[in-house]
């Protein structure tokens, strides 16, 4: 069942169309990656879904506890914006209780959950500290807690990993998976493609306000086509370039090469054609990475 349905939302500022007829759906438990170059319209789209700004046209539907409503109810939203901060002079637990209170959580419940979360993030010693006493990474974890303390059904995380060290990145990744496993929809916007590949079930890529490609990671990689072959060999590349199905060759270093296969060339077909006598130190056959697809879209705007 679809928890979130976004139907052809559009937003114009003056005569500039910032978001142009975007539609997508998300089911409970899904992590959806919303990708796009800077200025593609991601933040505007997110703000419209959360009713911070109103779309010029289009509809947003949300289903919770069997009720289908127009727009996502505010108490169901958890939001970690990209431009983030906290009241610098506020104390952490009262601030978290206040923010959860705006979502309708009773102060006692909010306080208990806040302390649990702080402990999970090893911030229990800062419960009574002021925000200005926190390091950047700590503040970011507190912001994450603020976004999820009220156990929202729909969580929007805009660049949740920027500025975090690898240990904390893992911590946040685990929590995001847990939130999805408990039935929330997570909308994740990030430029860290490796993390998006790792976490997201569905990916939605926009450019200049329009949808470029969407689907599961596999679907996107398939639609963005051809396999590539990474080869490390001392034997000389000529033996490979003559093989059927090879489109072009890029030299990465003295003995490392990247071959692009032609559209429709299956890896097995390529492998069968490789002579037994050829010496191979290392060989990988892979789809283009999400990073490559993103760069292709952002620079060429290619739409297949």
């Amino acid at each position: 069942m679809n928890l979130l349905e976004v139907r052809e939302i559009t937003k114009n500022y003056g005569d500039k169309t910032v978001v142009d007829q975007i539609s997508f759906e998300a089911q409970a438990g899904q992590i959806l990656g919303l990708l796009g170059p800077n200025g593609a319209g991601k933040t505007t789209a997110i703000r419209m879904i959360m009713d911070i700004t109103v779309p010029d046209s289009g509809e947003i539907w949300f289903t919770a506890d069997g009720n289908r409503t127009a727009g996502v109810p505010r108490h169901a939203i958890g939001y970690l914006p990209e431009e983030r901060g906290l009241y610098r002079d506020a104390k952490i637990v009262p601030l978290l209780v206040f923010l959860a209170g705006l979502k309708g959580v009773e102060p006692e419940t909010a306080r208990r959950r806040a302390l649990e979360w702080l402990e999970r993030f090893e911030l229990q010693n800062y419960a009574n500290a002021k925000v200005e006493q926190l390091s950047k990474g700590m503040a970011q974890k507190v912001q994450f807690i603020a976004a999820v303390l009220h156990e929202p059904k729909f969580i929007v995380l805009d660049e949740p990993f920027s500025g975090l060290d690898p240990v904390n990145q893992e911590l946040i990744k685990t929590e995001i998976r847990n939130l999805a496993a408990r039935g929330a929809v997570v909308l994740l916007s990030s430029h860290q493609m490796n993390i998006v590949e790792e976490l997201c079930d569905q990916i939605f890529l926009i450019h200049r306000g329009q949808k470029v490609v969407s689907g599961t990671l596999r679907q996107i990689k398939e639609s963005y086509g051809n396999f590539r072959v990474y080869i490390e060999t001392e034997a000389g590349i000529e033996q490979f370039t003559k093989l059927p199905g090879v489109a072009d060759v890029n030299r990465l270093s003295e003995s490392r090469w990247m071959l692009n296969l032609q559209d429709g060339t299956a890896p097995a077909k390529f492998m069968k054609a490789v002579p037994d006598s050829v010496q191979i130190d290392e060989l990988q056959i892979m789809r283009p990475s999400l990073h490559d697809i993103f760069v292709k879209v952002a620079t060429g705007g290619e739409n297949q």
Partner: protein
């Protein structure tokens, strides 16, 4: 409404536990006391120095003059000009007055001085004038009674035909104090309100809050919260000031409050506050920081002070054209109506019309501020230009 209340409560609690707010709360009365005490202290320490002037009195009025001098000015007789001048040069006197025999006919005298002293000049000048007049009247050989009769001053008594129109000192005092209090409320809590809108953007909290509450709720909550903070401040200060007023002065506080038109003061004061609060929060939402506030924003901040320009003309001519205008113009009316009502009872229809215009303007400004607030809160990184603000006002929300 529930969220409005939560925001208001948060703003109140956050400030009440904020060091700056508490310091301000305690420091302001001290500053007020300093302002009152400072002139008194200056007066005490700045006692004028004693001065000595020689008088070459060829008329015979020195005793009369000395009687009219303040304590620190001593007049001493000198036999002639040369003797007087010698004493001045020796530093025994600060100057000398030459009164020649023809003074009573010409009215002409000379003051020679070492260093100029305006106070002595003024004191001697008016004393001489008085003596001259007395001497000349005495020369006219009139009886003492006739003299008194001739020099009697007129006494003009003013009596209001309708008792309600009579200026009531207590009522005027309470109204004046009320206006000062409203201004303190506006400038202290109004500027805090503006800072709070600005801080929401500076701390990058606006988006998170707006994903939980509507912009209008956030704005209302802030206005109510800071109004309550202002009231808390004023209550605290009043609690300090009232016993002092009762103890040190014999002003009958309760009697004066009973004489004042409190409902009118509360009504116009509150509306005035709401109007200015909406303006300030709207402006706050367009600014990234105070230092970079543009001219247009500065003008809006000055708007509450506009009423001051009208106070003088209104008191001089409470029913003139300027008064009429200022009574209906919503950015001055909330002060002017209180002032006019303090001096003479106003027709009910005038109060009603002025109130209606003020309410309508307050609603209009609040709606505009809400629109500006809604867009402005999400604009990070710069102060908005007037052109952008006009564009925001035109955005249509479904």
């Amino acid at each position: 409404m529930n969220n409005t209340f939560k925001i208001a409560k948060w703003e109140v609690m956050r400030n009440l536990t904020n060091k700056q707010f508490i310091i301000g709360l305690l420091l302001t009365p001290l500053i007020m006391i300093a302002f009152i005490a400072f002139p008194i202290l200056i007066e005490r320490f700045n006692k004028p120095a004693d001065v000595v002037y020689q008088v070459v009195d060829q008329v015979g009025i020195l005793p009369l003059l000395q009687d009219m001098m303040p304590e620190h000015i001593t007049l001493k007789p000198s036999s002639d000009q040369a003797a007087a001048e010698k004493l001045v040069q020796e530093g025994e006197a600060d100057g000398y007055l030459l009164l020649e025999p023809q003074f009573l006919s010409t009215g002409h005298a000379q003051l020679y001085y070492d260093s100029s002293n305006q106070e002595v000049f003024g004191a001697l000048s008016s004393a001489l004038t008085l003596v001259l007049q007395q001497q000349r009247l005495a020369e006219s050989q009139l009886e003492q009674a006739q003299l008194a009769y001739l020099t009697q001053a007129a006494f003009l008594e003013s009596i209001a035909i309708d008792e309600a129109d009579a200026p009531n000192f207590h009522k005027i005092t309470v109204s004046a104090v009320a206006i000062v209090v409203i201004y303190i409320l506006i400038f202290s809590s109004g500027s805090m309100l503006m800072m709070s809108a600005l801080q929401e953007r500076r701390d990058r909290m606006a988006e998170v809050i707006l994903s939980s509450v509507r912009a209008s709720d956030l704005m209302r909550g802030k206005i109510i919260g800071h109004f309550l903070l202002g009231v808390i401040q004023l209550t605290f200060w009043t609690a300090l000031a009232l016993p002092a007023v009762i103890y040190f002065t014999d002003f009958p506080v309760m009697e004066a409050l009973a004489a004042a038109n409190l409902p009118l003061i509360l009504f116009f004061g509150l509306l005035g506050y709401l109007l200015i609060a909406a303006l300030f929060i709207g402006v706050g939402a367009t600014m990234e920081d105070v230092q970079q506030a543009g001219n247009s924003q500065g003008l809006v901040i000055m708007l509450p002070a506009l009423a001051f320009l009208f106070v003088g003309p209104v008191i001089q001519n409470p029913n003139g054209a300027v008064s009429q205008f200022a009574s209906y113009f919503p950015f001055t009316s909330w002060v002017i109506i209180i002032i006019r009502d303090a001096f003479s009872a106003l027709p009910t229809w005038q109060i009603g019309l002025s109130g209606a215009i003020l309410i309508a303007t307050t609603i209009l400004i609040s709606l505009m501020a809400a629109k500006i607030f809604r867009v402005g809160m999400l604009m990070y990184g710069k102060n908005a230009t007037p052109r952008e603000i006009i564009k925001w006002l035109r955005y249509k929300e479904r």
